[in-house]
């Protein structure tokens, strides 16, 4: 058994890291090494030129900042909303729970592509029954995050244009995950706390939070990664150079025909590493924190 675990782990690590390692090795190669037959694995001459290229050709650091702002905001907002909904659907004795949950999950069944035009019109401030007052309000508050060059007040080229749809896009999965986690908690546990004189809110933090911590963290990671990697909406809604996100930015290094693999590999490596670091942080610290806090409380 021990051997099986070790071998399995080794395979898993290899499977997961091989393409990234391949990218990293590629990013250290000269472009012409890439199309050689037979192919080379270890770079013959290590060059960091590709990394210099990544930051020189385009403001890649800015892309990363944009992605970070958008993804973090979307994650926090989405987790909060989904936790409320998940608590309602998973814990509370409500009629039509399954129908409501189906309704929420339903929204992720349409390809984002066909929703692009309606959303674009909405953010542009055209023919909107609901959003235009909100857009005007946010704009009046100066809450576009960055000044836009738009001719009419609209949400395009602002962080909102991505945060709002990202929250909505990840809401179904986050709600479903949290619902299933809240459902796992034995009802007796909460009732016992209530009998002990806890209020519902106290019971929430003392009893439910610790048990559902893995669920919350998982939901957060999923929302974060989904938002970080989203391409289509980011390409269409935020078209100003300084508002681009990482995945769109990476494709900007390519040409109509040419695909500079070495530069793009370097960009992918730079773009993925903070994500990995962040996920590790989430996994190690936050899970530990939430669980420990629950036990102490």
């Amino acid at each position: 058994m021990r051997v099986a675990v070790v071998v399995g782990t080794a395979l898993l690590v290899l499977n997961g890291t091989f393409p990234l390692l391949w990218m990293m090795l590629t990013s250290l190669k000269d472009e012409n090494e890439l199309i050689r037959i037979p192919i080379t694995y270890w770079p013959e001459a290590i060059t960091f030129q590709n990394y210099v290229q990544v930051f020189e050709q385009l403001p890649f650091a800015r892309f990363m900042l944009n992605s970070a702002i958008v993804s973090l905001t979307a994650t926090v907002v989405c987790v909060l909303i989904a936790a409320l909904a998940g608590y309602a659907l998973g814990r509370l004795n409500m009629p039509y729970r399954r129908t409501l949950l189906t309704g929420i999950v339903m929204t992720s069944m349409f390809p984002a592509l066909v929703l692009l035009v309606p959303l674009y019109r909405m953010f542009l401030g055209m023919e909107i029954p609901l959003l235009s007052p909100l857009v005007a309000f946010l704009h009046d508050l100066g809450m576009t995050f960055v000044p836009t060059e738009a001719r009419t007040p609209n949400l395009l080229n602002t962080y909102w244009a991505l945060i709002i749809p990202y929250v909505a896009l990840s809401l179904p999965i986050a709600t479903l995950i949290l619902t299933s986690f809240f459902q796992l908690i034995p009802r007796d546990l909460e009732s016992a706390a209530l009998v002990d004189g806890c209020t519902r809110v106290e019971a929430l933090f003392k009893v439910i939070a610790p048990v559902s911590a893995p669920g919350v963290v998982t939901a957060a990671i999923i929302i974060f990664v989904n938002s970080w990697n989203e391409f289509l909406l980011a390409l269409t809604f935020n078209t100003a150079q300084n508002m681009r996100t990482v995945p769109v930015g990476i494709t900007m290094y390519q040409g109509e025909f040419a695909f500079p693999w070495a530069t793009i590999s370097a960009a992918i490596t730079v773009g993925v590493l903070p994500l990995v670091a962040l996920i590790l942080l989430f996994q190690q610290k936050i899970i530990a924190g939430l669980t420990a806090g629950g036990v102490k409380g």
């Binding site: 890291t17 999950v105 909505a168 990697n229």
Partner: protein, 387 residues
Amino acid sequence: MSAGAPYLHKDGLPLALTTPHAYRRPGFWRRLRTGNPTEAQLGLILLIPAALVLALVMFWPIAQVLWQSLHFERLNVPARGRPFIGFEHYQRMLWGSDMTWDARHLLGWRLLAFAGAAGLWWGAARGVLRRPTALIWTVIVVLVAGLWMGYHPGEAGRWNDARFWNAFSITLLITVASVAGSFLVGLPLALLANVESRWRWLVRIALLIPWAMPRVLVGVMFAWLFNYTNGVVNDLLGRAGIAGPLWLSRAEPAMWAANITIVWATSAFVGLILLAGLQSIDESLYEAAMVDGASRLQRFWAITLPLLRPSIAVALIFRTLTAIQTFDIPYAMTQGGPGRALETLGIYVSNTTNSLNLGYAAALAVALFVMSLAITVLYLRWIYADD
């Protein structure tokens, strides 16, 4: 007696104490005001933010798409305008309008296949069949029927969208293969990542990296790895003395290549959700089982799998939903080729949108939606089996 009740109520005295026969449950608004809502009320309040966001950003656009699918709208034929045509798009997609013998014959088989799947589903709902049995049989019937429809798309023509049936069966094939694949890979990944060890951090990184890669580039990257002449895959196969296939230039290997890529990219997602499920399982259950002398495998069957069921369902639902919409990986690898061997419904929707046939693209998107809905309802029944 009833005449005296109102003033007591006004005094705030519990009605039940004085006049038990006249007791009424406090009204909805009253319970809200007094800060003592019922669970249902509380639930509705907690759902408001989610409902607002979804109504604004999802339901409203979706409603527009549904409405659009009932209209003729081709932006490169503006002279025709945007007339309402009812269900003509769906009719074209599903059976066509000129009822030749061929069309009627096909229609019969298609209806039969759908009826079979629906029958199994009802059977499961009514408790006639055991749910897992029904689930497996439904998958088998849908798969066989779907692939049959793909291989017999009917004579191509304006009124029988053979391309839709081809895309339908390819989508089904990719869905079943990649969902099963990512589950079979993801479950061991989650189990391994949950093992306490010094290397757990490394395992977790390895688990997450494939999924953290920008999806738009995964396909391009794998197309490069699968390249016939310069690809790593064929190079490694060659070193092992195996002649590598023409991965992306022949239909069957391309299907394999696409599924391998999708499984690689998405098993991490499944693993992550299952890992969270594993983490929430109470250790004491295992200890108790160990005391009872249960073997590792018995513990897995008796404790892990049942307690993991909700997580498995969540992972499967979302894997399935994204698999039905599969677009970027096959598109980046071969643009849906070779021929139409990888043209999924998602790619068909995209091509139709790019051809500016917005009405039909909307109808195709709705078809995709219906496929997803049927499957999700099935899964959700499984999660809420205890209710």
